[in-house]
Symmetry: C2
Subunit: 237 residues, 2 copies
Amino acid sequence: MNAVCLTSGGLDSTTCMAIAKKEGRRIYALSILYGQRHHHEISASKRVASYFKAEEHLIMEAGLGKIGGSSLTDLSRSIPTTSILKEMDKGPSRPEPSSIPSTYVPARNLIFLSLAVAWAEAIHAGEIFIGVNALDYSGYPDCRPAFLEMFQKTAKIATKAGLIDGWDIRIRAPLLHMTKAEIIRTGLSLGVDYGITSSCYQPDTQGRPCGRCHSCQLRLKGFKEAGVPDPLIYQDT
Amino acid sequence: MNAVCLTSGGLDSTTCMAIAKKEGRRIYALSILYGQRHHHEISASKRVASYFKAEEHLIMEAGLGKIGGSSLTDLSRSIPTTSILKEMDKGPSRPEPSSIPSTYVPARNLIFLSLAVAWAEAIHAGEIFIGVNALDYSGYPDCRPAFLEMFQKTAKIATKAGLIDGWDIRIRAPLLHMTKAEIIRTGLSLGVDYGITSSCYQPDTQGRPCGRCHSCQLRLKGFKEAGVPDPLIYQDT
């Protein structure tokens, strides 16, 4: 079966692609250029798509940079480096919605999934894999199960294939209920080389992660809890 | 109230914008460059946004041309010019789903609306206007009321504003149940100059419409039934 796999070249989407590969899917890797600061995401996603022998790797543009509203796309805003872990240790394992950080990009997963649906329909893919996670995550609303379920229904009735051929596109989010440590252990058991991935919101010119942004914090916490070293070399090491 | 108005510079979206203006909305015009053949859509949408004194006109990119699957984005495929009107005269006023033409662009309105939601959230708009029409239309699945209703629910739970602030984005489709003739009469009563619009899928280099593609056929039928002349000058006249 063909599967569209959204990839950012990061830890989660790479593990997600490894799962799709293990399930025997033909991988159609999709990266979205959305005006993010981190164009190195694209380099990492190229390495990952090649690693998993994707049938095709499509890099699509979506000009979200023009919209603003996020520190990930607006260069005049700084990336937060306050501890996200303290917040997460407080109570349930995820932060309150009120703490959704400035790295939130308006409607990002809604847009990413919509573009994935378009490609999925064109290549007759039965599944879209997305590496969202509702546990060790940054509190983004479009990473929640309720959103994914409703999006799947919407996608079916939005398309010609869904309307006529009974095409039943499935949104697969296998990491949804995993901790970062579980994600890493799963990936390692499937042979993922995390040295080719990139998670940082603000790496240096050599691509070395900062170790301080929320994405780095979550990644480092995951490797620590999994009891394995992160193969990446950080800026201040 | 701020409103994002999707605009293609065509007859429907222009009438839709006139309705938003009449309702006192502050217009944020949004055009999507999706690899369509007709870049003149953008010129027309600029004229229309200016005509209605939009606060801003944003032109966003969405690289659907890379996906293919449609004669509108794939230059190797020809635009159909068979009569769509015969089909429409047969039974109920819309064609069977099986006759969805090759101009269908996979998941187009799903993507357009998702991009509109992102902008709407960033500028705190309460409404998104889209000029879809379920009556005199080409049979596209993403023009149906069921799709619009489910999309609105999905958008609410996909966004930070929807989750936290109770932001209730409304998808407005005021043309949904109008015939083309009714749309034209409505627009004329609101002072629309249809001479600045452009509907054709394959205009010539001077921007003159072909008069044969489905979009031209529907437009000409509408003006005929409304009993007023189309101010545009067609190629073969």
